[in-house]
């Protein structure tokens, strides 16, 4: 099963190497990893999505926790939390197919962020399944490239992850 972990780390050089190195040498199955600044200046928040059974998950959490720069790990899989990913999708778009694509974009509540004579770039934020679905539909028009941020997650609780 897939689990989503919020990993709070010290914003120091080498911390991402330590985390990605540990994940690869312990052979954990990581589906996605997304890092960025958090509400604290010196803390980076990394969202890790991992495919693991219960025992494997325990190892992932315990091994990551051993890293000196890892401050806290919170499991956001089961709790009441919001999961999002952002995708930019570049599709082939000739004048005659543009309106079709715009219709699809509207249905998915996505946005067109760039248009030129041959292509359109679509931005979509949502759960992974929604992005997958949009990509699937746009295939017919010819996808040139896709970039996805990887999953990020936040609990709905008034308590921040760092205080849980």
């Amino acid at each position: 099963m897939k689990h989503t972990l919020a990993v709070l780390v010290e914003n120091r050089p080498g911390v991402l190497t330590h985390i990605s190195g540990l994940i690869s040498r312990r052979a954990f199955n990581i589906e996605s990893i997304a890092a960025g600044y958090s509400e604290e200046a010196d803390t980076t928040r990394i969202t890790v999505q991992v495919e693991a059974d219960e025992l494997e998950l325990e190892q992932v959490v315990n091994q990551l926790s051993k890293l000196v720069d890892v401050i806290k790990i919170v499991n956001l899989t089961d709790g009441d939390s919001i999961h999002r990913e952002l995708a930019l999708i570049k599709v082939k778009a000739k004048p005659e197919t543009r309106s079709d694509i715009v219709d699809i974009v509207d249905i998915f509540r996505a946005r067109v962020v760039d248009v030129n004579r041959e292509t359109m770039v679509i931005e979509l934020t949502g759960e992974q399944s929604k992005i997958d679905a949009l990509c699937e539909v746009l295939k017919d028009h010819g996808i040139i490239e896709i970039v996805r941020t990887g999953l990020i997650a936040l609990s709905r609780s008034p308590v921040p992850a760092k205080d849980i």
Partner: protein, 564 residues
């Protein structure tokens, strides 16, 4: 105090109570070596950086203090890697200070540049690259704290060359502030009530002692637990010495080359108390069938060890300095329980196994048997020596036949199994514990991997006793080829090795040789009596296997037996 970065490192070492460092100079650490010179700081010059890191490791294992080594950038630093990995696998507290190329040259493939931080990330507890001189005191404070607390381990501090010369206002912090590092000392003591309950219900309990007992200096508490319960005891390679080898409760080492009684007891027990162990594959044999009949209680300081290899029914996470005394107190409070009576049948069973198939070998009047050498040294030193080994057959025979009496008396590369470890580790151990006799068992393979350190031993005038169990082959690999590869001895002959007596003499070490069983006793005595480093080349046959042996992937009770 306004001083240079190099002087700040020396001051930090002094404040951390470091009394000696092991190292090898080079371009990037010239300024640091200049500061060592100026401060007359005690330093042991090894003949290879690998020697320095293993010596620091041997020093740390013998004393319990943090070992410190220094190397220059690039090849100097990469030569430390095997030693750092060795220390990491066996949880040895180590701080390795490496020079890095100058700040402006980092990342440009400069002369003698290697990303030692990146290289050592998988084998260190933590590591640093210092590019600002004002960070040095904090980084060193953290490095020593991280290396020595919780589950100990090696920390690398890589320092850019220009930082050694840069000036700073030196102030050493009193405390560390690490938001992500809080090693657990005291765990949940209510769990221990459950443990006592399990112990009361068990009919076939077994205590399994690991390296954690030696590392945490809880040998006395482990012995008290043993004494109160009367339960049979087994140990891992790293746990040897935690209880005396000749204690009637002690069945000896478990695992691939464990005793028959220890492996049978592990297979048949109904409660296993794993204390400071990590259930390495050399211990468990076929993992799926390891202690399949028992409930498992796992005591460890590292939460990540629980359920890593073996699923624990009860986990006691915390420092053994907390959990063992607390458990002992709870057991003492159970006055009504007659522990020894409860396990009498079980005790008789394990003792019968021990009697039925003791460790043994066929003694010989014609050739010197390697096991005899270990037994003789055991008699001569009476368990009072620090015993160091290299890796291979001689290491296992030492584990099997030496009668260990004390904790921290056996220094060996367990987890990584590093050939070449023994000689430099013995040097470090002797420097750490000068009043203790230090005996190194090595092989004719392992000694060659760091034989340059004979010069260090001679140069330092260290009276270590180097016993080479010389069978002219790479014994352990040879054994596997004999047993599992149809006697196709691919590249395991060491014909062409040097004359070890001459090698020793060339290096300034007294060299002795013994080929006849009748001379063994006298030559060993002579070696122990000579005041100075001695190497003894002991010729043994190459036909001996280390037995019992659990073949790779087999169950613990599926041992190849041997002996008489």
């Amino acid at each position: 105090m306004r001083i240079t970065g190099a002087q700040a490192i020396i001051e930090s070492l002094k404040l951390e109570g470091v009394d000696i460092v092991f190292g090898y100079p080079g371009g990037a650490v010239l300024t640091l070596y200049d500061a060592l010179y100026e401060a007359e700081f005690p330093h042991v010059l090894t003949r290879h950086e690998q020697g320095a890191v293993h010596a620091a490791d041997g020093y740390a294992r013998a004393t319990g203090k943090v070992g410190v080594c220094i190397a220059t950038s690039g090849p100097g630093a990469t030569n430390l890697v095997t030693g750092i990995a060795t220390a990491y696998m066996d949880s040895v507290p180590l701080v390795a200070i490496t020079g890095q190329v100058g700040t402006s040259l980092i990342g440009r493939d400069s002369f003698q540049e290697a990303d030692i931080r990146g290289i050592t990330t998988p084998v260190t507890k933590h590591n640093y690259l210092v590019k600002k001189v004002q960070d040095l005191p904090r980084v060193l404070k953290e490095a020593f704290h991280i290396a020595s607390t919780g589950r100990p381990g090696p920390v690398v501090v890589d320092v850019a060359k220009d930082i050694f010369a840069a000036m700073l206002d030196f102030q050493y912090p009193d405390t560390v502030q690490l938001r992500g590092y809080h090693p657990l000392f005291e765990g949940d003591s209510s769990i221990l009530d459950l443990v006592v309950e399990e112990m009361q219900q068990a009919k076939k309990p077994l205590i399994f002692l690991g390296g954690g007992v030696n590392i945490s200096n809880t040998v006395d508490q482990a012995r008290e637990l043993a004494g109160l319960t009367g339960f049979p005891i087994i140990s891992s390679l790293m746990g040897l010495g935690a209880v005396p080898s000749d204690s009637p409760q002690n069945l000896g080492m478990v695992g691939m080359h464990g005793t028959y009684a220890a492996n049978m007891a592990t297979t048949e027990c109904d409660l296993l108390l794993g204390i400071g162990v990590r259930f390495d594959d050399r211990v468990t044999g076929l993992l799926d069938e390891f202690v399949s009949k028992a409930r498992i209680v796992h005591f460890d300081i590292d939460p990540a060890e629980i359920n890593k290899n073996v699923r624990a029914d009860i986990r006691v996470v915390g420092d053994l300095r907390w959990s063992l005394p607390a458990l002992v107190e709870k057991i003492k409070a159970q006055r009504s329980v007659e522990w020894k009576g409860q396990v009498k049948d079980w005790f008789d069973t394990v003792k019968a196994w021990e009697k039925e198939q003791p460790l043994g070998y066929e003694p010989s009047a014609e050739v010197i048997m390697p096991q005899t050498v270990v037994e003789k040294v055991s008699e001569l030193t009476q368990g009072n020596a620090l015993i160091v080994t290299d890796v291979g057959q001689h290491q296992m025979w030492t584990a099997q036949f030496y009668k260990f009496a004390q904790g921290r008396s056996f220094i060996t590369s367990g987890g990584l199994g590093t050939m070449g470890y023994g000689l430099p580790a013995a040097i470090g151990a002797k420097i750490g514990m000068p009043e203790k006799p230090v005996v190194l068992f090595s092989g004719d393979g392992g000694i060659m991997m760091n034989c340059q350190e004979l010069a260090t031993a001679a140069n330092q005038g260290l009276p270590i006793k180097i016993l080479i169990i010389n069978n002219s082959v790479l014994g352990m690999v040879f054994q596997w080829q004999r047993l599992f590869y149809g006697q196709r001895y691919s590249h395991t002959s060491l014909q062409g090795n040097p004359d070890f007596v001459k090698l020793a003499e060339a290096m300034g070490v007294t060299g002795l040789r013994v080929t006849e069983p009748g001379q063994l006793d006298q030559v060993l005595k002579q070696a122990l009596e000579i005041d100075g480093p001695v190497l003894v080349d002991i010729k043994v046959p190459n036909t001996e296997d280390v037995l019992p042996m659990v073949p790779n992937g087999a169950r613990l009770d599926q041992m190849i037996m041997g002996g008489k």
